[in-house]
Each structure stands twice: as structure tokens, then as C-alpha cells.
Symmetry: D2
Subunit: 421 residues, 4 copies
């Protein structure tokens, strides 16, 4: 998470609060109590932890500071729900989150209810702009955890031998095979990068600055499962020459031979989706691949990934607004959808797109003070930037300037590929 610094509008903060908070519960509706507890890999947090941690954020940073004589729901929860903030006291080892069965889901729902009641009271009083800004940070923070809830639930259910269905959702999708991608050309020049508007953004989008870009071309859609299967069938996972050395070691050691959630049965490829186990649709964008795989795929094609600057310039060039009918969390399909027509650039929504840019601070990146400042740039090393949001990202959470980032071996997020040259 990074931190916003400029916040202007504050209309309807109470309504926004209700809506966002309600959405987290909505995501958890299909779960059984047992699903809320486990942490099959260190990256994946138990759903009940997400519900508690996003609540703790409001209790700890808002109510404890600004609600007079606030009495905490249970002092001991701090230890469990503090994710990261060294300044906020000791906390449970991340890898132990999945062993903690109490407090149970019921108690955490009570905790949410308790905090929400107090927050609603607070929101009906007159608040300083600073407090309102902090609350909005909390809501964006919760939206980030909504995306994680979806991907973590997918991991918990998708590595279960019973492949339980999370939600039934069918998308028509076009039946005809998708043709080759088109190339969009952008001319060389000096471009502005970073968030320059008046709304909300995170601090890693700030430090607006100029970059020089040479002429480049970028594809008008995402790489499909069909195209990725060609790579696999051409021995993509067996030819050293396509891979970064570290990626090759990674794939060998973990015996990676396909995207995460893919299973071969009788020479047909299936994959687990939140709609259940399904045959792989060749028209849909490939997803759940690492940076290593994205880079190997690009090299195999003789092409490359775009830089994050190229991506942002292309996105600004093509879009003026976030598409209303984009494939975001609100669609509740929770899976990428095939390109609809040639105007459908798939730049926002569907899958996060790996770029060829390392996650580093922009020139003049601002440093925040205080507890929230702890996140400030702390992760700006050994990660790559992803752009564009996914089918698990809330629509109101994404922007063309939004910088997401993950280590090069991560695959449990909805990640995919777009090529450049």
C-alpha cells in the first residue's frame, strides 16, 4: 500500500464508508466458517484476517485518535491485526496468521459492527479535513484488501482437491477465434508521468516528472490463453534461451510447466476459476503467470514487455475515463473476459499487466511522516510494476497512473501480458 497526499472532495463520505465496508462482507458471503482461517502459503492471508485488519485500521488510526474516550473492542486484537506497522507495537509473525483460530469469524463480525457503529457516529459529526482524508485512505486500503480477499479465497479454494465453486457466473464471450493483435504506435517525445489530477492517489504516483520516450508500438489487447498455449506447445518451459537465469532456476526447482491453477487431463487443459474447474478458453486473456513467464513469453515472440511509462502514455492516449463496462470486481465474474471487439483495449480491468519496469521511486518522490509513512517506499526494491487493474479490482480504485507491484515469482494475483516493441 502506498499513501495518498492530496485529497480534495469529501462528499458523501458516510455513504462511501457504508458501501465499501459492506462490499467486504459481500465478498465473503459464499464462504464457510472453515474457509476464513487458513493460510496455505505465506502470501495468502486468512479471509478473517483481512476482515479484521481493515477494521483495525479504522479503530487504530481513526477512532483511537479522533473519537473521544473511545474504548477499544478488545486490546488484544492489536497483536493479531497489525500487519506491518513497527510503530504500532509487536505483532504476530505473518506466517503464523493461519494458525490462529480465535477470535472466530463471529467475533470478528462483531468487531466490524462495533467499529462501524462508532465510525458512523464519528462521520455524522463535523470533522477536520485531515480526519476525512485519513478515513478515505482507510477506504482505499480496504479496497486493496478486497482484491486480496478475492485472490486469497481463490487460492484457498483452488488448491483444494474438491475445487469448490465460489460463484456461478457465465459470460457469453465470443465464440469465434480472436485474430492477431493490432499495434498502436506512439511517437517519441517528452511525456509527463504521474498523477496530476485533483482526486485521490497514492504517494507512489506522485513526484510528477518528465520522461523521454523513443518511438514505440504496443498491442491493442492482452495475450490470450491460445497464444500462451502455443508457447507451451513450442517447448517454452523447456528452452533455457527464453528465460532470465533466475526465472529458469525458479521454473526448474518448482517444476512450473503452466500457469497457476492449470491442470492437464487427457491432453486437455483445464483451470480452476472462481466459477469452478473449467476447460481453458483460448480466447480469454492468460492469467496467473509470473513476471518470469511473461518475460520468457515475450522473448520467445521476439518482442518485449512495455515499460510502465510506455504503458501509462498509451493508456492516457487511448482512454479519457475508466470504462463503465470494464471487467472489474463489480462485475462479479472474477475472471478475465475475451476481447469484445477491436476497440476493447483491455487496458483497465481484466488482469494486471506486468511491465518491464522495476518498482522504484519517481524523481521527487515525497516522504510522509508518521505511522502511515512506514509504508512509504518500503517496498521499492526487487519488484516489478504492474498496471491497469484486474477483474478483482474495485472500479473506483483504479487509475491510469496506478502503480501496483509484486515480486517476479508471484502468480496468485490476476496477472497477464501485453507486448510492445
Amino acid at each position: 500500500m502506498a499513501i495518498p497526499t492530496q485529497i480534495k472532495s469529501d462528499t458523501n463520505l458516510l455513504l462511501e464508508y457504508r458501501e465499501v465496508r459492506q462490499q467486504s462482507l459481500h465478498i465473503c458471503k459464499p464462504l464457510q466458517a472453515e474457509d476464513f482461517v487458513v493460510q496455505p502459503i505465506s502470501d495468502v492471508s486468512p479471509p478473517k484476517w483481512h476482515l479484521g485488519h481493515s477494521t483495525w485500521f479504522f479503530e487504530n488510526f481513526i477512532l483511537a485518535e479522533y473519537y473521544k474516550n473511545y474504548k477499544r473492542f478488545d486490546e488484544r486484537l492489536n497483536y493479531f491485526f497489525n500487519s506491518y506497522y513497527e510503530s504500532q507495537g509487536p505483532r504476530i509473525l505473518r506466517s503464523n496468521r493461519g494458525n490462529i483460530t480465535r477470535p472466530g469469524v463471529e467475533t470478528i463480525l462483531e468487531y466490524r459492527h462495533y467499529v462501524d457503529e462508532h465510525m458512523e457516529q464519528l462521520l455524522q459529526t463535523s470533522l477536520h479535513q485531515e480526519v476525512k482524508d485519513f478515513i478515505r485512505i482507510g477506504l482505499h486500503h480496504e479496497q486493496q484488501h478486497q482484491e486480496l480477499l478475492i485472490t486469497d479465497i481463490k487460492y484457498i479454494l483452488g488448491t483444494n482437491p474438491f475445487f469448490p465453486v465460489y460463484t456461478k457466473s457465465e459470460v457469453g464471450g465470443r465464440k469465434s477465434e480472436i485474430g492477431p493483435a493490432n499495434w498502436i504506435s506512439i511517437s517519441e517525445g517528452i511525456y509527463n508521468i504521474g498523477y496530476q489530477d485533483n482526486g485521490f492517489c497514492f504517494d507512489n504516483e506522485l513526484g510528477v516528472h518528465k520522461v523521454f520516450l523513443h518511438d514505440f508500438e504496443i498491442q491493442n489487447r492482452l495475450i490470450t490463453n491460445g497464444e500462451y498455449l502455443e508457447f507451451m506447445q513450442n517447448g517454452g518451459y523447456h528452452h533455457f534461451e527464453y528465460w532470465l537465469s533466475e526465472g529458469w532456476e525458479w521454473a526448474k526447482q518448482l517444476e512450473i510447466k503452466a500457469p497457476l491453477y492449470w491442470y492437464e487431463k487427457d491432453s486437455e487443459w483445464y483451470h480452476y476459476t472462481l466459477n469452478g474447474l473449467r476447460q481453458v478458453n483460448l480466447n480469454e486473456p492468460v492469467t496467473h503467470i509470473s513476471y518470469f513467464e511473461s518475460d520468457a513469453y515475450a522473448r520467445w515472440r521476439g518482442l518485449r514487455l512495455p515499460t510502465e511509462f510506455e504503458w501509462e502514455v498509451a493508456c492516457n492516449y487511448l482512454h479519457h475515463d475508466i470504462p463503465v463496462n470494464g471487467n472489474f470486481m463489480e462485475t462479479e465474474h472474477y475472471h478475465p473476459i475475451a476481447q469484445q471487439d477491436e476497440q476493447d483495449t483491455q487496458l483497465l480491468g481484466n488482469v494486471w499487466e506486468w511491465t518491464g519496469s522495476a518498482y522504484l521511486p519517481y524523481p521527487n518522490f515525497p516522504r510522509l511522516k508518521g505511522a502511515l509513512g512506514e509504508y512509504n517506499g518500503k517496498f521499492m526494491v526487487n519488484q516489478m510494476v504492474l498496471r491497469g487493474g484486474s477483474c478483482a479490482t474495485p472500479r473506483s480504485h483504479i487509475r491510469p497512473t496506478y502503480r501496483n507491484f509484486f515480486q517476479t515469482d508471484k502468480r496468485w494475483q490476476f496477472t497477464g501480458i501485453r507486448l510492445a516493441k
Copy 2:
């Protein structure tokens, strides 16, 4: 688990079946759904796994074999609930048991119900002795898992920062300090070892044979918390000379400084019990210690642990029957109790007693055929024998000849110390 070979009586097998099966559910009553799922360390299985696995045993080895046209509840459960039997097909990695949230507890209770209905029907028909014997193995197998249920639940709750109370139970216990232990003397001679009666026993108790014992003395009670604290306060954990080399490395690396579940607060020692967090009672037997600690304690005292043969001879010498008022699972105290008076030898119940004997086959140890034979002696290496049962052992499950065994670093069972010389 080991395997019985001689089975005589079969009266009331149906009643026995009901009672044992009911008991497993009774143990789980205080749990919330979340508690059933996790596996905080590899040794500890999720409670729902114990419930399912002991049921699978009846389905797989009894119903599938002897119930005509039996239809399995769900074929896929085999993969999840097969613990060990290579001959029964592929199975989940032990260390992954705690990541499997589905089937949930509800489904597993339905599974138990389904199997119980079919078992009850089967038990009301006329059965060959062999089938009855197999069913009785299944019941003893389930009793072993009842003890594991209790110790695993203790681990799950006891490593939770909230220290939840599993059951309220107060035992009066004597207030006055316990005096020094007395010594019981046994003369040298040739003794018979192993199970020679007509009831049920496991195969590792068979191969009845003679051993020669020199004169020895054994204490008339278990080592208390008070005595163990003396060891701690005399630097027991800091003096290399008391420890086996491997034990010293173990304690250094894991920073072991007290029994499992012990916590120091303001210079007072507390420990987690299934009755909640309590101050350590100096009169109660020390428990949750490894073989390494038991051996170091004995060496510090200038004494030693008894061999399993000395223990068995002493037990046969002192007891003719399993004590009716012993501190077993049925007491539902789930914690060792201080010696009541000098006649209370604490040999059966309370805590498993580490012996100085490695777990090895008796001369003429029999080999079983078939799937159950897989367990046969498979674990007879790098483990030490424990004797006597604990406060978590069903009373009908223990015998003076019963051989339990664990690796030398294990501490999550109710384990304790008795000294010899």
C-alpha cells in the same frame, strides 16, 4: 499405531462402537468451526481430520469389504483421510492437512453419521470373528485418535495469544507440599515381558520374552513441577554437562528454556492448561517435556530413567488392575494431578513416562500381512518408549504392557518423568 493380533471377547460390540464413536464427538463439543481446520505444526492434525480419518478407517477397511454393495459417502474423501497406508492409494501430504477447508465440519459430521448408520446395520447382522476383530481394532484406533484430539486441540488453543479455555475443571489437589519420593526396590532375576493375557493388545506388545534385570530401585511417584523448577533455577538449561549432545543442540537452536506451554510473567511461572492459563502448581507432575529434557533432569539429579522392562516389572509388581479412580480421559480434567498419598504411584494415567529404552521389536515380534500390516514395526527406529498412559488416554485403552513411542524432541503429548537407579 500398532496392530492387535489376539482378540477374544466380543460381547456388546455394538454398544462399544456407539460409546467410542460418541466420545470423539464429545471431545470436540467445546470447539468452534474454525478450531477444526488448522495444523499449526506438522505433528498436530486438524480436529476435523481426526474425525474424518477414524471414520474413513471403518468405511475403508470394514464397510467397503464386508457390507454388501456399500456405496461410499464420497469417493474423493479417500485422498484426504488416508493417513499413511501406501496400499490404499495416493493421499494428501501430511503437512498440507491444515490448508484444506472443504469438506467442512458439517459435511464430516454427515460422513460420520452415514458410516455409523451402515456400521450399526452391519453390527446387527451375524459377523465372522475376523470382522469383529477388525472392528475392535478400529475402535482402539479411534481411541488413539481421541488422545491425539485432546493434545492437538491443546496445541491449537495453547499457542493462541488469547489462551481460550477449553473446559472448566477444578481439582482440589492437596495444598501441603509433597515430600521426597520413596524408592521401591525390585530384585534381580529373569522376568517375562509382553502381553500374556486373553484380551486385546497391539502387536508391539507381543513376542512375549524373558529379560534379565539386575537389582534396581524406582521412585513411587512422578517428578513434580517444583522439582523441575529446581533444575531450571540451578541453570539446568544452561549447563552443557547434563545434556545429550543432540539435546543440547536442540535446546540451543529452539531457545528452549522451560516445558512447553510455560510462560514467565513478573518472575512467576504460568502455563497453559485446557482449563486456561494458570500459575504453575508445584505439587503437580511436570509435563510437556521432551526425552532430552527428561534425560538431562535425571543426569542433573545423578539418577537415570528406568528402562521399559524395569517399568513394566515394577508396574506388574504394584498393580493388579487399572485404577478405577485414575486420572484418565474420562476424568475430563485433561491435566495431571498431584500425588494423592504415598500409595498413589501415578504409574497409570496422568502423564506418559519417558523410559530409557529405544523403541525396538521384541524378540519374535510377529509380522502382519495386508494393509494393516503396513504399520507393523514401521516406526521402530529413532524413537523412545513411553509407558503408563496419560490424563488424555481412555481408561479402557491402557495396559501395563502398552508401549507408546515418540521422537526424542516431542513435547505436545502429556509426557513426564519418573526416576530409577
Copy 3:
């Protein structure tokens, strides 16, 4: 290693060959036979391996291809001395290099002699430009291994409790304390980056391209031991807020509290140098620090590391030639030297300078074909760029456009800090 693509001059290739090959032996002169064998950490290769591998390069890529009827010295050496090239057959696991005692040093010196004789014969014939170019690559490759020889020997001797002296060398160095660094200002604009000359360069310097830089300032010298000690004495290693999250975990886990080779004795800091164990000289540049430490130091000062583009632009602005009196390998001091005067920018030689740039391909980065192409960009992920060369770099090997790269936790190279803002 990266690969040159443009090679023009080829005068005196035979003399060059002799000189470079001789230099490797010269570096090993102070060693005992035992020093040639070991590999205390995976990064550090045994000196005899460097001698053999650089020889194998000529045998395998030059003689086997271009020397008619060439008979290999010993076919089996391929397995041992192939470092990396998948296309050149199976090879020993990198981490096992230090367990292979045979062939011994004597045999490897015979191997060098054998290959050199054949190479000298070949070099006295008329060769195609392509072959000459390949030979020159081999020489630059050997120079890279000369630097590694020095740093690996330092590690082998410097982690020996006897701290053996490798070479006696005293540098006067100025006695007076160095004043604050000055700032050099560079104006915003579009700059060319990459190698544009006619000599030798590696492929990662190619793909000459334009970047836009905002105004920036860069210090006129390296950070000194004295300045770094201030950081340490101000709790630099104990304050989370200065560190990247991953760096903090790294320092905690490995208990890092000072640069590599530093030892505290009676409140004084000493460090191992190739001249023996010496008290830390406050005027000398700090070295043997990781990217994590460099970044934390910069954050503590409220400043930052320069990007590799800023560094290159500053270096081109200040220097027209490689300084003849720079502190390179040829100086045989093998340790950084204090800034001589304010004109001494220390940009070339002394220590490699961590930049804030991730190691990534330049736009239009060329791809090579064939076995040498394997190195091509294989390492362009999760590493940071270092610039400027060190006291262990051959003078003829460095250029302002030279891009070195290491993972963010590496410390055994001569690495240091320069700040920007």
C-alpha cells in the same frame, strides 16, 4: 558478463594476450596451494576454478573452433570449468566447486600453459576479424575474473581467524580529516546514454538512447568510513524507518551491524584488508556494503543514490579519460584510498558505486546469437546497477558507460556510496 558487439582495433593482440594471462598468475602468487581450493560461500569461487575457467573459455570457444585438429588437454575438464553455458553440456553444480580437490593447482597451471602455447601459435597466424574479436572477448572475460579473483581471495583469507596478509602495501593517505563533500550541479535536459565510441564494450552498454533528466546534484566524492560510522553510532542499523522492508529483514536475520570485514575490539573498529587487519581509517571510502545499507544510509541523510543515468552524465561531464593515476588493480593496493584533493572525484576506481537504478535492458538492447548469447541479458532482473570500477578492476577494463550489477544483499565486492539529490 555481457557481450561486446563492436570491435575495431586489433593491434598487438598477442602482446595483450600475454599480458592479461600473466596478470591472473601474478594475482595468485601470494597464495598457498590450500587457498586455491575452497568456496566458503556460493558467491566465492575457488581461485583454481577462476584460473581454469578463464582458460577453458579460450580452449572451448577459440581453439576447439579455430585451431585445426586441436586436441583438448583433458576432455573431462569441460564438466568442471563450464560455468554457466547450457549449450556447452553438463557442468558441476556451482555450490560444489569448493569440494573438488583434483585436478590440483599444478595440473591447472599445466592446462594454462598448454592452452597458452596453442593460443600463441594461433595468434601468430592470420586470423579473421571475427576470431580476433572473440579472443578479445576472452581477454575482457579474464579481466572480469581477475577482479573476482581478488575479491574471492579476500573473502577466503578475510574469514580465516588468522587474518593472513595477502600483500604489504602502505598508502600515505592524507592525515587531516576530510571536509564535507561538495555538490556538482547538472542541468535538466535530454542526454545520450550508452557506449558511442569505437572501442570495445559489452552489449549491455549498447542500445544508445536518450533520457530526460531533471536538474540534479551529485557529490564530488565517496562517502567515508567516518561518515558511515556516524550512521552506525546514530543507530542506523536499529531504526526501521531508514530501511527498505526487505533490507530490514535481511539485516535482522543475518545480524548485520557493520560493513563486511569490520570487527569491533575494545570499542575500536578494525577491518580486514588484503594488507591485513587494520584499524578503520575514517578518511577512506566505506566499502563492502550492500545496496540495502547504501540505501538506508542515504535515507538517513535525507538524500538518495544517483540513478545510473545521472551518474553517467556526471562522469562524462567531469572526465574525458580514465585517470592514469586512479586506484585500480594495477596499483596493487587492493583497497580504496581517501580523496586526495577536491579535484579527486573518485568516480573511476576505488569502489563500485551503487546506483538507484535496477539492471534492465536499454531500449533497443541487441540480442546476440550463439553460445555467448546465453549471457545476453540473462541477469536483467532483481539486481541493481553499479558504476565506476574499483581498486580491483583492471584499468583497461573500465569505462564511464560500464554497467556492473549485483543483487541487493551482496557485500564481498568493493562496493561503496555516492549521494545525489
Copy 4:
């Protein structure tokens, strides 16, 4: 190592000293300087370490105590050559022994010379019996390290892809195939176990005591390579039912499919011996196998390993003296030899024989005081007893009561199998 407590004769101690000390150097004669340094696995110590450590034993426990005004060769060697004794100060981590190149072999030979000169002077004075006893312990200690020198050298050379020959030695060996083993019967009764003579023994042989043995039979020779190959060809390594559970996991994880040093080439089995790589001789005893493999082999045959008590009773029954023509270190063949005739029981020499007994203290096992007492019983857990000595054991070092011990997965010693029933 264990510690002797009864020492009677002391004739010719000086001559004995010279002979034993000389023997260690003799073993190292075929080595190159590089061979002395490495430690390819933690079990294997560098040869120069053995030479130094056995010397340090005399310096530290004899000269420093009993030679007036003794000046140590180099104080700093204590850190490097203290193997284990906590009471003798800090020491290097065992796993780091192979990274320490200085002091080199030359210096260690000087160290030996220096200590030997002082020891010879001391031995020419009149000494208390206690001192003589300690010196003799030192000699037996050095003999133990002579066996380790041989097995460690074998590992260092035998895992080198060049398979260097350590010594040329051909043993005629009989050509005709060996017939089935005969069975020796021993009657049930009470037997004395442990060392009861007047010579030297280690403390783990003391605590002479009685055991009751049932009737048993034991084979009159070791298991051959031919017999072991039958096991392999019958899928011995692939059938779970022959294996201890822990042994099965071990073999699966490390992909163990044959004894250590065996290699299959064109459907023929070869193995590395100190005489070089040779085809496996079917008549020779199988060696370099773990306890797990020995136990699996026995189970496959439907037989078992003897206990250490059965072995000792059989050995005492069959042998009155150590065979002069046995295959010990002095033979300098360094490899087991086929049974010569039916009188050749192979009980002493050739290979250490795994027994079915865990390594535990005898009743009344004595405890030693002082630094040497540290070894006392420190290793009596999770190891199995081996009996009989090997082709690398000095003849004067072995006895029928000698108890060797190793963990159940160790294979780099000369270990083999004899069966009982």
C-alpha cells in the same frame, strides 16, 4: 569417542607413541596439498584437521598439563582444532572446517613435529600412571581419527568426477561364487556382556552386566554384493513394505537407489574404491550402506539383524583372539575382501556390522569427571550400535566388546550386514 577407565600395562609407551603418530602421516602420503582442505559434507573433516586435532589433543590435555613451562606452538590453534569440548573454550563451527585454508599443511606438519618432540621428551621422564593412561587415551583417540582419515579421504576422492586412485592394491580373492551362508546356533541362557579383561577399553564397554538371550542363529559370513544386488533387482528400493517409515522417506528424498559410491554404466554396476573405480565384485561383502538399507535388506529376506548382545556372544564363542591375518587398516587394502573359506567368519575387520541395538548406556555405566568426561555418553541417543571393526580400523584398536555407533542414515564408513534369526 568414549573414554577408557581401566588401564594396566604401559610397556613401550614411547614406541607405541611413535608408531601411532607415524601411521597418521603414512595414511596421508598419497594426498596432494589441495586434498587436505575440503569438507564436502559435514560428516567429513578435512584431513589436515584430523592431523591437527589429534595433535592438539596431546598438546592440550598432556603437554599443557604435565610438561613444565610448556609453550604452545600457537595459541590460536585451539579455536580451530578443538572438536567438541565445551570446557576447552570456543571453537569453529563444525560445518566451517572446510573453509579454513590457513594454517596450511606445512604448518600443521610443523605443529605435529613440535608437539612430538615435546611428547618424546616427556615420555623419557618418569611419569605417573595417570599421565601414562591419558597418553594412551590420546593414542586410541588418534587411531579413531586414522579410521576417519581413511573414510574421509575416500569421500573426498570418491565424489570427485575424476575418481583418483589413492593406492594400488590387488587382492587375489576367490573367483568361484560363494555358496549360501551357514547358520551358527547359540543356546538360550544368561550371558555376560562388556569388557572384563585387563587391557584398554572405552567406558561405553564397561558396566559389565548380564543379559538373557533366547536361542538364536547367526550367519557365518557377511552379506555379499551379489546378495545385495538380488535385493536391488527385486525392487528392494521401490517396495515400501521392506522399509522403516523413516528409512523410506530418507531413500525417496535423496533418491537413494544403491550403496554409496555405486554407479551404473551400461547396465553394469561399478563402485569407487580407494583402488579406483572398479566393477562390483559379487563375492565381496556389500559396504557403504545405511542402517535403513541393512534393515530393509533383512526384512526382504524375512530375517533380521542380530542385537549387539547376540553379536558379542557369538564373537566370544567363535574367537579367542583378534585374527592376525584379518582385513584391517594394516593390510592397506582399504576395501572388504570376499570370505576366504567357511572358517572365515569375517566377524572382525572388513566392515562394521549394523546391529539391531540402539546405542544406550549399559546398566551401571560409569560417569567420568573432567574435560574428557564430556564425551561420556553424550551420544547415547538416536544412533545404532555397530560391531567388529573394518578394513580401515587399526588391528590393535578393535575388541569383541568394542561398541561403535552411527546415525541410521550414515553411509560413508565401511558398514555392512550380517543376518540373524
